[in-house]
């Protein structure tokens, strides 16, 4: 049995320690907001936070998480109130199919925690690992700028 701290709750999973955190979240804990896209750390769809740092959950084994706090897309909102970055995403009307966007949002939240007012180059650098095949990159940039403005006002 492996105990994880997920979105502020202590959760126990009966899993092979080599199982990627992605599948433990999705299949064992029912948190399906974190998406599979490549299984190889190439696309960013599975991005979650460990102690606030963005990681690819497809490459992070469940056995390696230890006491670090896991935050998934489901853990961003406070009940009915969405996280400012989620609100920015909503306001900027960013998603198309939306499948990659939980991962995009997790990367953006981590960026804005570190760099509240990112330049375009800083946005590009932080978001480069997250692929969107629908091509919503301009909307993602707009949402990040919107969230950044909100955080400074």
């Amino acid at each position: 049995m492996i105990t994880l701290l997920v979105n502020g709750e202590r959760r126990t999973v009966d899993a092979d320690p080599a199982m990627p955190l992605l599948w433990a979240l999705r299949d064992l804990l029912g948190l399906k907001g974190t998406k599979y896209g490549c299984g190889a750390g190439l696309c960013g769809s599975c991005t979650v936070h460990l102690d606030g740092e963005p990681v690819r959950s497809c490459l992070t084994t469940v056995g390696s998480v230890g006491r670090k706090a896991v935050t998934t897309i489901e853990g961003l909102a406070s009940g009915d109130e969405m996280h400012p970055v989620q609100i920015a995403w909503f306001e900027a009307n960013t998603p198309q199919c939306g499948y990659c966007h939980p991962g995009q949002i997790m990367s953006a939240v981590a960026l804005l925690e570190r760099t509240p007012n990112p330049t375009d180059d800083e946005i590009d650098a932080a978001m480069s690992g997250n692929i969107c095949r629908c091509g919503t990159y301009l909307g993602i940039r707009e949402a990040i700028r919107l969230a950044a403005q909100g955080s400074t006002s």
Binding site: W23, D27, K35, G39, E74, Q96, I131
Partner: protein
């Protein structure tokens, strides 16, 4: 700021839609036919609109939402004529059912084909509600008006819910009058896609996310080459993996839709993948393990050197060639390409006796019904297909192969099964955009005036994938850019020929338009250069005076090719980009335009190429005419998405085969455009005429040639082969 939960549009998830639609079977066939078993509490004038006495207005969407905004557009069309606020309606996703008409979300058809029927569905309901109110008040219906889900007359007001029971007793008008477009309140206004809040909360349910009690996850190792067969495998090794429950061999189906494979079923995805990795399958490669891309190019060249089937001829090209002062020739090549949508194929199925229920991320629910029923040997009526939100489709998810796999595995195991494709599965077992090789020739007289145009296109037709034989390009595939060539050459010959393929060929966003536009728009740019003309002005000259190119197959089409509209988008894009301005060293503008899916798109790309050969696409100016626009935000999103996809195809899109097997497997060797590569995009929407046309696909074809023509302007290097990756631009 606070956006409260579910404050915008109530959408109903899978369980909800199953419940509602399961109870309410027996709705009327659309259009205008009274349902046989209308529920007393519900007013259901057709299959798309239902209003309860509780006032809930429920709209049923029969098309798939995969990011193009079709679901939202359908609701806008219904809501406009019904006169309800989009924020007040409840939206349910339809099951697969012929009563809805065509449900395939493909070919950029959702708005085009539903423009009239869905507005009529809304208008019929509205007319009946107005009539019910007029009777209640003993006034003329013509003196009543509607607004936000209520009928009004003077100071009297009745909500649709209050009128539902009475309206349900009235006859359904067959051809209700539609609003004057000048009175539209919703159509033409920017609207957020309906699932946006669920998506950003991480609560949207895609095919990958379906959950059922007792569910098994299946991961399938498929034959590396279509028509290969399993020789041997180690089931025990797979079963030894923790949480693996079963191992099932799958045979290829006779239509070529599914390939042979071995499925490992487990209680979680990781275990299924680990078990699959332990199978150690030995394959019989089969008859198609022949094609190796580097060598197969010769077969394309050989076929392209022979006469093809003439698809269109005007004047006498041979005579023009014999009399020509100069003949310009170029060949264009583009490899196979694959979809790489972010959500790989995923489907869940449950079989009980001779009944099957399917939850699929599909663009083709009705085809899914037929294929699943056929595979299980049950009647179509016994197969119930739910459509999930689709994490990108681009044509791949029109094919129901993964649903067949799920249904067969559910039947064999007796448990619900979710088949999850990995990224490698998606890249290696796709239905690919065809590889193509094209020869173009233009003849010039002594004054440099173009006298003839010859174009021979060679590619494996899509029919190959289904007809189980060598399939030449079809008429439909040739209308995708080849035969719609709009320029005024006095002598024209357009030919087509097929080559066999080791892989299945399918639809990838814009399909054959991508390579035909690349060749035609690239070659027009070359010709302009050869005759010393500005490429944009040369294109406009060759387009000539406005004319209508009628479709031979459908002379009464409401969507004729109007060259004046193509000119208008071309001129708009050129104006937006400041065409003709002086550009810095190694920076250039490239122009391209293309008619596809009955829409008109033109682009100017602004690129620079460093001395080291590094390409930067700074900006793309886009002009689009897709007729009247339902949701301008969706049009903008589709143009941005088309540029991103076209840029990915131009820079990286390459699938190669070794002895019939795909060599690529993930985003490391099948790269796609990332954020830092995304250019600025300026968009101008031109709305001509009264009928909307396609928007999901028409933006892709001009992207590649706009970029490669810009590379020529910047560097003098003419690009004849895609992708750009691996070519020296320095």
């Amino acid at each position: 700021m606070k956006v409260s939960r579910r404050s915008f549009v109530q959408t109903t998830g899978l369980a909800g839609s199953a419940l509602i639609l399961g109870v309410r079977s027996g709705r009327a066939a659309f259009p205008g036919v009274r349902g046989e078993a209308a529920d007393a509490q519900f007013f259901e004038p057709n299959v798309f609109v239902a209003i309860g006495e509780d006032g809930v207005v429920q709209l049923t969407v029969h098309r798939t939402e995969m990011g193009q905004g079709g679901k939202t557009a359908c609701c806008m069309l219904l809501s406009e004529e019904l006169d309800v606020d989009l924020a007040d309606v409840k939206v349910v996703q339809a099951l697969a059912d012929p009563k809805y008409g065509r449900q395939a979300t493909s070919g950029s058809t959702t708005v085009r084909l539903n423009w009239v029927p869905l507005r009529q569905a809304g208008a019929a309901a509205r007319q009946m509600l107005v009539e019910a109110a007029a009777r209640r008040w003993s006034v003329l219906a013509a003196d009543c008006r509607t607004e936000s889900g209520a009928v009004l007359h003077g100071s009297d007001r009745l909500t649709y819910g209050e009128l539902a029971a009475e309206a349900a007793e009235l006859p359904v008008p067959a051809r209700p009058p539609l609003k004057d477009p000048a009175d539209f309140k919703l159509i033409g206004t920017p609207q957020r896609l309906l699932d946006t809040e669920d998506i950003v909360r991480g609560e949207a349910t895609y095919g990958y996310d379906v959950e059922l009690p007792d569910l098994l996850i299946a991961s399938v190792e498929r034959s590396p080459v279509p028509k290969g067969a399993v020789q041997s495998f180690d089931a025990d090794a797979a079963l030894a993996v923790r949480d693996v429950v079963d191992v099932v061999e799958l045979e290829a189906n006779s239509t070529g839709l599914t390939n042979a494979g071995v499925a490992v079923l487990a209680t979680n995805t990781w275990a299924a993948m680990q078990g699959r990795a332990a199978l150690g399958i030995e394959w019989e490669p089969g008859p198609l393990a022949t094609e190796t891309s580097s060598e197969w190019r010769g077969e394309f060249e050989r076929v392209a050197s022979l006469p093809g089937r003439v698809a269109r001829a005007e004047g006498d090209f041979d005579a023009a060639e014999a009399a020509a002062d100069r003949v310009i020739e170029a060949t264009y090549h583009a490899p196979y390409a694959v979809h790489a949508m972010m959500e790989p194929p995923a489907c869940t199925a449950q079989v009980e006796g001779d009944r099957c229920e399917v939850w699929s991320a599909t663009q083709g629910p009705q085809w899914t019904v037929r294929e699943v029923a056929g595979a299980l040997g049950v009647p179509n009526e016994n197969v119930k297909v739910h459509v999930t939100l689709v994490g990108g489709g681009f044509g791949r998810k029109s094919k129901p192969d993964y649903a067949v796999e799920a249904a067969l595995l559910a039947q064999k195991t007796g448990r619900p099964v979710k088949v999850l494709w990995t990224r490698e599965d998606e890249i290696r077992h796709g239905f690919y955009r065809a590889e193509s090789y094209q020869v173009l020739r233009a003849t010039l007289d002594a004054e440099g005036t173009p006298t003839g145009w010859f174009h021979r296109t060679v590619f494996p037709g899509i029919g190959w994938s289904f007809l189980n034989r060598r399939s030449p390009p079809s008429e439909g595939e040739l209308t995708q850019g080849l035969t719609t060539m709009p320029y005024r050459f006095p002598n024209i010959r357009l030919e087509a020929a097929g080559v066999p393929s080791s892989v299945r060929v399918g639809w990838l966003r814009s399909v054959c338009n991508t390579f035909h536009a690349q060749a035609i728009q690239g070659f027009m740019d070359e010709l302009a250069h050869e005759v010393g003309r500005d490429p944009f002005e040369f294109q406009m000259d060759m387009l000539g005076a406005r004319r209508i190119l009628e479709r031979e197959d459908d002379p009464n089409s409401p969507y004729p090719f109007d060259t004046g509209r193509l000119r208008a988008v071309g001129e708009a894009a050129a104006e937006m980009a400041g065409w003709g301005r002086q550009m810095p060293e190694r920076r250039g503008l490239g122009f391209a335009m293309h008619f596809s899916f009955f829409s008109y798109a033109a682009m100017v790309a602004d690129v620079s190429v460093s001395d080291a050969g590094e390409l930067t696409v700074h900006q793309v100016d886009v002009a689009i005419d897709c007729g009247p626009v339902v949701n301008p935000d969706a049009v903008e999103a589709q143009m941005q998405g088309a540029v991103a996809m076209g840029l990915s195809l131009a820079k990286y899109g390459k699938i190669t085969l070794r002895e019939g097997a795909v060599e690529q497997g993930n985003f490391n060797d099948y790269p796609v455009v990332r954020m830092e590569e995304m250019p600025r995009i300026n968009l101008r929407i031109i709305q001509t005429g009264t009928v909307p046309t396609g928007i999901g696909e028409p933006g892709v074809p001009p992207t590649m040639p706009a970029v490669t023509n810009a590379i020529f302007a910047a560097t003098g290097k003419r690009i004849h082969n895609l992708p750009l990756e691996g070519q020296d631009l320095g």
